[in-house]
């Protein structure tokens, strides 16, 4: 089995008490290893950043793992080449009820009419909020944070936070991991724009692109946010009570809840909010994790792999504890799911989840955007020049 999410030692086999992505998934895997007869699972956890390189090399070398996790956005690339097994005819026999998946989840694992995996979650960018800072700035109403509805209002709120507490308004990884890219993408989608069209024309150096970037750079220019923090540092800044809002994914909700409960962590009053709509239409970056098996897997091994997929599918509620949104209607409707901490605070996210149009070059396109956006906020490259360069390069990638 190949997966990312990080390593967890001593995850045990109790899937109901483990915490954090790495340990929850490993406890589910350990439980499958223990409970499924005749199936033993070796896990190959890989660092997030190198995961797809490794999986590709494994496929190219003819030795892919029997079961592996992947993102929805990689399906065009892998299924398009015939690497993944089409399993729509085998789900029922394996005990997986595909009709329980929400329509969006089914869509996430579908490609050209076939089903190429078992969906595990929807994950999306959220606003993680420090309520004490918001309270001090007068930005709390009826127990919920008051979030901006326009870029101008965001600046007003940021000024109020700075004035009242001296802290930054917003933190996120703008420097390494592409959280900044996902922010800008969301703000472009909110203007009903996108970085390229379905027929493959890059549309980045546009009014919408400029608006989206400047909504964020205005915070940097005024000193209300620091573009130089990477993932670990921005998270630390939020936990230290140095920023009112942290933009990060659903995957850290349970972790931040646990941290907020600790005495020594400055963040005490934690709240999760849907990504606010700063322009016309609600939108936030989202993706799906899913489990796939290689097309080359046959016979008893394929059956065993499907059993593992079914086991993971059965434990969807455990995985949802991370903060991810469930893909199964029966889980979403369940009492256990609805009573998860903070769950009621970001119910709007599922409806505004978005991603770029499918492309075989998703990774390279993200990288171009990440580089050019970093150039804007870390090295003062003029916005227009950076967007133009990004457009050229993305067009090159789309044309290749």
């Amino acid at each position: 089995m190949g997966r990312f999410f990080g390593a967890c030692e001593d995850a045990g086999t109790d899937t109901t008490t483990s915490a954090g992505e790495a340990c929850i998934i490993q406890s589910i895997i350990n439980a499958a290893d223990a409970e499924l007869d005749g199936i033993s699972i070796n896990t190959l956890p890989t660092d997030w950043g190198n995961y797809y390189d490794q999986i590709k090399a494994a496929y190219a070398g003819g030795t892919p793992p029997d079961v592996h996790v992947m993102h929805r956005h990689r399906i065009p690339e892998f299924a398009g080449l015939g690497a993944l097994a089409e399993i729509s005819g085998e789900l029922e026999a394996a005990g997986i009820d595909a009709s329980d998946w929400s329509p969006a989840a089914l869509d996430a694992v579908s490609y050209n009419g076939g089903i190429y995996g078992v969906p595990m979650d929807f994950h999306a960018n959220l606003w993680h909020v420090n309520m004490d800072i918001m309270e001090a700035a007068g930005l709390v109403e009826n127990g919920a944070p008051v979030l901006p509805t326009s870029p101008a209002e965001m600046m007003e709120h940021a000024a109020m936070v700075k004035e009242a507490t001296g802290q930054d308004y917003l933190a996120a990884d703008f420097a390494q991991f592409p959280i900044g890219v996902r922010l800008v993408l969301a703000l472009m989608w909110q203007q009903n724009a996108n970085i390229f069209t379905d027929d493959g024309t890059a549309t980045i150096n546009t009014e919408a692109g400029k608006n989206a970037v400047e909504a964020i750079t205005q915070l940097f220019d005024a000193g209300y946010a620091n573009p130089q923090l990477n993932y670990a540092d921005s998270q630390q800044a939020f936990l230290n009570g140095e920023a009112a809002v942290l933009v990060n994914g659903t995957w850290v909700v349970d972790f931040y809840s646990a941290e907020a409960a600790k005495e020594e962590v400055a963040l005490d009053n934690y709240y999760v909010a849907d990504f606010p709509t700063l322009f016309e239409t609600g939108a936030t970056w989202a993706d799906s994790h899913m489990w796939a098996i290689p097309a080359s897997l046959e016979g008893a091994e394929r059956e065993a792999a499907l059993k593992v997929l079914a086991f993971i599918n059965d434990h969807n509620i455990d995985w949802a504890r991370t903060g991810h949104m469930s893909v199964r209607q029966s889980v979403v409707d369940s009492e256990a799911y609805q009573s998860l901490p903070h769950r009621d605070e970001y119910t709007g996210t599922a409806a505004i989840a978005r991603d770029t149009p499918p492309s075989e070059r998703y990774g390279a396109i993200q990288d171009v955007l990440n580089r050019e956006l970093q150039a804007i906020w870390l090295t003062d490259k003029p916005v227009e020049a950076a967007l133009q360069d990004a457009e050229f390069e993305v067009q090159d990638l789309l044309d290749r």
Binding site: G49, Y52, D53, K56, A57, Y59, A60, G61, G62, E77, F78, L81, G82, A83, A175, Q176, Q228, L229, N230, A232, D233, Q236, A237, N240, R361, G363, A364, D367, N370, R371, E372, Q374, A375, L378, T379, K381, D389, F392, E393, D396, R400
Partner: protein, 363 residues
Amino acid sequence: MRTRTSRQMTQTQAAYTLLLPFLAVYALFLIYPFFRGVWISLHDWNLLAVAFNPDAKEFVGLRNYERVMWGRNIEWSLFAAPFWQVLGLIGLALAVLLRLGDKLSRFNAIALGVASLLLIVIPGFHAGEGGRWFDRRFWPTVGNTLVFVGLAVPGVTISALLLAAAVNRETRAMSMLRTLFFLSQVLSVTVVTLIWQIMFSPRQGLIANITQAVGGTPINWLTDQQFAMAAIVIATIWWSLGIAMILFLAGLQDISKDLYEAAALDNATGARAFWYITLPNLKRTITVVVILQIILHFQVFGQSHLMTQGGPNDSTQVLVRYIYQTGFRDSELGRASAMAVFLFVIMGCFSIIQFVVGREIPE
């Protein structure tokens, strides 16, 4: 006589027999992959597509090289990059003048001349009116790699030399220090980069804590364009100091004590002895260390990949990382191989220089 030759091998035969295992391994794991790499570089070759369908490749001749290194409407002019080109011109003039005045050996004059000529020619290329490079990242990446090599090699060489001179004494403390300084060398690149990521962290890092203690604001080493390259160079120096230091120590122990005693009589001790005796006697070791380091550091990958991910804004993107990304992330094996061949040519040049220099010095 006849029975003898049939039973016993001649010297040549014996030599070939003994060489055979080496040659077989060398051919299988170095020669064959190399030519295969060149072969791949002449194709449009998608890593995954070809794995599933061997016919999915297409012969494209030199197009990968053109796509990587060239562009539309590329022009050459003097003063396109005035700083480097003027520097090159000065170097060229110096080489000619010093050679005419017999202040420079023929070899050094040619070396300086060639280096200067390259400085004049290479930066002169630029995209003309309405043109652009097909791959805007390739040459800046080559430039970053050169900057890295240009900083890391002198950094390692000078610090290793000074350390070696300092710990070259027969006391227990010194032998312990020697081991300590060498210890970092045995760590893998993942461990080294992990240590230094923590060191450089603006929140928990040792460096940040010291800066704060003396009243400064901590630097975001790894995400600040001015410091990111310096950060990976510092980590690299710390990491690869050991071998260079050991080589220098060996060189130092070869220098006869008599020389220092004689010098001491002439009142040359300490820094002066180091300058007039140690350095000239270590010339050969220094050359070896420098060339080895150059070849080693052109292949830098882990430090940039793990510490900065090539950022911010590609300022620490290096050639091997670009090859890796092109080959594995983008699956474009043909293009990646073309870049790898380019890297091979550069390193080949330095190997030739090493070969030539190795012969030059004994004169």
